[in-house]
Subunit: 530 residues, 2 copies
């Protein structure tokens, strides 16, 4: 085994051949085929007969709501509407879910959202709230004919106070736009994730997104200070607090964070934003065993305490996929069983580099890591992140589908799930190199610093045998190791039947009671969540 | 005006005469007189007749619950019980509230709490949960004959995982004990506050305590990962998640954080704990104007981004009180209109000092601060903190009572409230140096970094005229500046009537609906909160 000296480790030459522009060109995600209707792939789901069926009078009324202040509506009931105009609202980007909505409405104001929901509630028309549609569990895609209420046109940034760092904005603002706005003010959004170019801040809040840098900037439950939400009966709940501390009564906004739209729709929020880091360092390690990955994590926390912003795990399979399906260069020549992307963000470049170098020296000396590089400039930094962020897209390109699990586990057993899944699918003769095996490979990666594993199973085609082999087996495995069946992707349609693996009957019962309080007609988010 | 050079600024000599031992000796807080009954000082409060009156059979049953697993009960119905044994449960430490409970029960297990509440619910006996009893709004003190359910004997630390930093412990663990336990593992509790030697972690969670270092370690809403709570009907809600991410359904634990016991009793919690800092620096500045305090804060955030752990404001009046009623030495010779205590916590002493020195150099050069010192050792650091933390205790000693307001405000207007209050009380001839004025002085200090002001009015004696001059005037002032009438101390009895200044009718109505869901008999925390 070759242990590199620090000088070698940080050499710029390792990156010399990298073409930064080429590296960012990932494959397009659109699959060639049109996915099956969710209603067909989940035959156990039946349209709930308590919901009314949308008619032209409904559409006319909804249109009238949009008249004064703008907004848009796609009306499939109208013969002149191109049916494909509804595709973007009916289909998810992984092509796993496809709904049958006839109407998608995009309001521009909270008042309109209130009027729309009030009307739908009175008519018992089912509604599914939709943000950037970047979810992975089918939460934002209708199953049957639920009306899609898309927040995309509510995209104003209202105010930013530089002294306190408090940002106030509409739910439909694209995460990247919010962050770019803040960049000009030397601040940053406290959340970052791969889908930032499409996902909306309201959707992030509604799914309690964790993202890439939770380790450093904390959970949205702590950084979201206020929320404006519209309840299913049209009541506008104004909890737009711009204060860091406010202990006056129950913290109702928390019921909406992570609720996926189950209790109402988030229309605005206030967020406390940190200063933008003046220095970002990214290192990429090759590691010989999972045990050493754990050691590297523990030492990273000790050496980089306040500046450790990401500690991402990638297994070798995931990196082989990136090699095969993207043009990003391999940062390390040799293959390693595991790779770690480590990032620091701080206010002093020199200090951060000193801390990072001290860590690396220590990790090399103690033989915790085998090889590694540190990005020497912004483009190299992007290349390293692409090796991690690009996995999802390359997986999509590897076959014609991916089964995705996003779980939380105690760190010690986190990667065992990947090994055990691979073994199970091999034993069941579902995984193999030849095309008669539905499964191509099992991949493990994720936000290890948060105990969050993304277990992904790439398939040549979706196959019920694979689904049966995985579910509920994966959830049982997770539950038996005291994990969570959804770390950050939420429940949506995919995991609704499995919440019992992570929550007690008393908890679930209470959630349903609360649902009934907020939404007695059950118009919001039918067939999903709890 | 004298602007000190850096060398002078950091001189050790400034602290030479400080006797660290003497400095920590603050006055005892016990007032000589016994406070009036809350029921007498608030004649508008009437005992709610829907509650049953406790009888000997009730006490016998409660005693039987404690039989197997231990626990204790103080039974005032028993003639042989010394009535003063109930004083600690019936009286708050500021001597503003006094209840009339006849029974205080201290269970040892969650099962017992469940059985106790189930019984009280079936009998419609009112209950007030009580932690370390360090509150300031009368939340944990009974008003009439509510049973006190004190968590003091549920004080076990259950587990700590060094890899993830997740601590699992009983609600009744004293905050300082939890932190001492973590210190041995090179970690720290993510919350620190003046009352840490008495307050319990469950009480901190139930009041969403903010404390001294929220700026650095974030809100409990982000750091508490799991909670076990007992509902009024005895249902045990097990949400003891030890994972950093868990997006499976509504985050019910958040309903208990900050609920003051309104919906149930927190019995256990899991908390994610950061590494213990290897370096703590404390600086103490004299500042000539509030405008400069604001500038100093903004620059501190820029220079100390990831290590700024506290930015505390103290006005001159507060420091004069500390001079008069404690033995801590003045850190700065001259008087200044404002003082700032700034703290950094980081992992590298040298780096932290460099950052702090760069900030100070900049603040001196730009004439933002007038004078200052940096603590050179642990005892000096303690002295500086005593100048801030000792204010509350010295206020108590200054007269025979203190009206306390704990508000959040936009930073720009934060100190205006102190000036305006002083002016108002002077105009009303309630504030003056002679003993015929009820008010001694108006003091402003607080966690400025969090926009949190503690407005304190020291009085020679509690006086209805003062209360009338202050309430609802203070709350109206806060509401008109879009602040919160309770930043961190909560609502309790004191602020129950005023929640409308910070929350909309829709929000309050929803809170009451939820109360009815969780506690249809209303046995928990009567007369308080919402």
């Amino acid at each position: 085994m070759l242990f590199l000296r620090k000088e070698v480790f940080t050499q710029v030459g390792r990156f010399a051949a990298v073409n930064a522009n080429a590296s960012t060109k990932f494959c397009s995600l659109r699959f060639a085929h049109k996915p099956s209707f969710t209603a067909d792939s989940y035959p156990s789901l039946q349209r709930d007969s308590r919901y009314a069926t949308l008619n032209q009078a409904d559409v006319d009324f909804l249109k009238s709501i949009l008249k004064t202040e703008g907004g848009s509506i796609v009306n499939g009931l109208d013969q002149s509407t191109d049916p494909s105009d509804l595709d973007a609202f009916n289909t998810d980007w992984t092509h796993k879910y496809r709904g049958k909505t006839e109407v998608a409405i995009k309001p521009k104001t909270t008042q309109q959202v209130s009027q729309i929901l009030k009307y739908c509630n009175s008519r018992k028309l089912a509604v599914v709230p939709q943000g950037g549609n970047t979810g992975l569990v089918g939460g934002s895609i209708p199953v049957f004919d639920e009306i899609v209420l898309n927040l995309g046109l509510m995209n104003k940034i209202h105010s930013f106070d530089e002294l306190s760092g408090v940002l106030s904005l509409d739910a439909g603002v694209i995460l990247e736009n919010a962050d770019s706005f803040l960049a000009e003010k030397d601040h940053m959004f406290p959340l970052d994730l791969g889908a930032k170019g499409s996902c909306q801040v309201g959707g992030c809040a509604a799914t309690a997104a964790g993202g890439l840098r939770l380790l450093r900037y904390g959970s949205l439950r702590g950084t979201i200070l206020g929320i404006e939400a519209v309840l299913p009966d049209g009541t506008i709940l104004d909890n737009m607090v711009t204060l860091r501390k406010d202990n006056t009564g129950l913290d109702l906004k928390q019921l909406f964070i992570g609720s996926e739209g189950y209790l109402g729709i988030i229309t605005r929020l206030t967020v406390i934003c940190p200063r933008r880091p003046r220095s970002t360092n990214v290192a990429f390690f090759g590691v010989s065993s999972y045990e050493n990955v754990l050691k590297a994590f523990s030492e990273s926390k000790a050496y980089l305490t306040e500046i450790l912003s990401a500690f991402e795990l990638m297994d070798n399979t995931s990196q082989r996929l990136v090699d095969a399906h993207s043009s990003t260069q391999r940062p390390l020549e040799d293959e390693h069983p595991f790779y770690v992307l480590l990032e620091t963000q701080g206010s002093n470049k020199e200090h951060d580099e000193q801390k990072l170098n001290a860590l690396i020296e220590h990790l090399i000396e103690d033989e915790v890591i085998t090889d590694g590089v540190i990005a020497q400039d912004e483009s190299q930094l992007r290349v390293l992140w692409e090796r991690r962020e690009g996995i999802t897209e390359c997986l999509a390109k590897a076959g014609s589908g991916v089964y995705k699990y996003d779980v939380s586990l105690p760190l010690k057993v986190l990667y065992d799930l990947v090994n055990d899944t691979k073994q199970r699918l091999t034993d069941l003769k579902l995984l193999g190199e030849s095309s008669d095996h539905p499964v191509i490979d099992v991949v493990g990666f994720g936000h290890m610093g948060d105990g969050n594993l993304h277990l992904n199973i790439a398939v040549r085609k979706y196959d019920k045998r694979v689904e049966k082999a995985l579910q509920p087996w994966v959830f049982e495995w997770v539950a038996s190791h005291r994990g969570s069946i959804s770390a950050e992707h939420g429940l949506g349609l995919l995991k609704k039947p499995y919440i019992g693996y992570s929550k007690s009957p008393e908890m679930i019962s209470l959630m349903k009671i609360l649902k009934n309080v907020f939404d007695p007609n059950g118009i919001m988010l039918p067939y999903k969540y709890v």
